[in-house]
C-alpha cells in the first residue's frame, strides 16, 4: 500500500492515560517495526481509526471526501483500504432503483 501522506499530517499534543497492556503492546510493535514507542502508538491508533472510518463510510454516515479528510489521504487510498479489508462501498440496490425511477419519470 502507498504512503497515505501522514508524514505531512499536522500533529498536536494530547494528554492521555493509557492501560499498561496497551503500552506494552506499543513497545512490542516498536521493537517489531523498528520505530519508537510514540510512532507505534500512533500506528495502532490509525489502524483503529481506519476501521472506524470505513464502517462509517459503508453505513453512509460520512462521505468519501470526508473520510479522506479525516484520514488525511486521497480518495484512492480510501478505496484501496476498503478493498484490502473486503468492505463494499457505494449505494444500495434501493438507491440504484430510486435513481432509475427518477430518471425514467424525467423522460416521460
Amino acid at each position: 500500500m502507498r504512503a497515505r501522506g501522514r508524514a505531512r499530517a499536522k500533529t498536536m499534543p494530547y494528554p492521555l492515560r493509557l492501560p499498561r497492556g496497551l503500552l506494552e503492546l506499543a513497545d512490542l510493535r516498536a521493537a517489531e517495526e523498528r520505530v519508537d514507542r510514540s510512532t507505534a502508538l500512533r500506528q495502532l491508533l490509525y489502524a483503529g481509526a481506519e476501521e472506524y472510518v470505513l464502517k462509517l463510510l459503508q453505513r453512509g454516515r460520512i462521505s468519501l471526501s470526508k473520510a479522506a479528510e479525516l484520514l488525511e489521504c486521497s480518495s484512492w487510498a480510501i478505496y484501496e483500504l476498503a478493498q484490502e479489508r473486503g468492505v463494499s462501498l457505494g449505494g444500495t440496490a434501493e438507491e440504484y432503483k430510486e435513481a432509475k425511477e427518477r430518471l425514467m419519470s424525467g423522460k416521460d
Partner: protein, 177 residues
C-alpha cells in the same frame, strides 16, 4: 460529479466517453482530492483523470441553495459540498455519485443523483457507447460497487440487449416486407 463518481468511471474505463457524451463538470475540491492528492500518492489513474477532465474543472462559487442544504449535512467533505454548489450554479441535470452519505443528502433535498453503474446503462441506452463497451465497463466497476447494484445494472444491460435485438429484427422484417 464527485470523487466517488470520478473514480468509479475512471476505473471502469468509461470516463472519457461520459465526458464526451454529456457535459460533465468537476468541482475544484474533487480535482484536488483525486488528481492532485492522487498524483502525490502515485496512483496512476490520477494522471489519466487529469488529462480527461482538462477544461471541465470549476472553481468554487458559493450558492445559497447549496448553503441551506449543507447547513444540515455535516457528514460531507469539501468534494461533495462543492459538487452541490456546482450543481445549483450550473443548473445541472444530476450529480454523478454513488456515495451513500451524499445520496442521502440529495434524496432529502429532492435532487437527482446518477450512480455510475446507472450512468453506463444510460449511456448505452442513448447510444453514447456500444452495449459491449458498457458490459465490459460494468465488469471493471464490479469490485467498486455493491454486488446487488452490479446485478441490477447487469440485468438492465441484458434487457437493453434484448430490446435492441428485437428492434433490429423488426427493422429487418419491415425491410423484407
Amino acid at each position: 460529479m464527485d470523487s466517488d463518481g470520478l473514480i468509479k468511471l475512471a476505473k471502469s474505463g468509461i470516463l472519457a466517453q461520459v465526458i464526451r457524451e454529456w457535459h460533465c463538470l468537476v468541482p475544484q475540491a474533487v480535482y484536488e482530492e483525486t488528481v492532485e492528492r492522487g498524483k502525490q500518492e502515485a496512483y496512476p489513474d490520477a494522471e489519466e483523470i487529469e488529462r480527461l477532465v482538462q477544461g471541465h474543472v470549476k472553481p468554487l462559487r458559493e450558492n445559497e441553495h447549496a448553503e441551506a442544504i449543507l447547513a444540515q449535512a455535516r457528514a460531507l467533505g469539501r468534494g461533495e459540498q462543492e459538487a452541490l454548489h456546482l450543481f445549483f450554479n450550473e443548473r445541472a441535470d444530476a450529480i454523478i455519485t454513488d456515495d451513500r452519505a451524499f445520496l442521502a443528502v440529495l434524496k432529502r433535498a429532492g435532487l437527482p443523483a446518477l450512480p455510475p453503474a446507472l450512468a453506463l446503462v444510460e449511456l448505452a441506452r442513448s447510444g453514447g457507447i456500444q452495449l459491449a463497451e458498457a458490459e465490459s465497463a460494468l465488469e471493471m466497476m464490479k469490485g467498486l460497487i455493491r454486488q446487488e447494484v452490479y446485478q441490477l445494472a447487469r440485468r438492465d444491460l441484458e434487457e437493453l440487449r434484448k430490446t435492441k435485438l428485437k428492434g433490429a429484427e423488426m427493422d429487418e422484417g419491415e425491410r423484407q416486407s
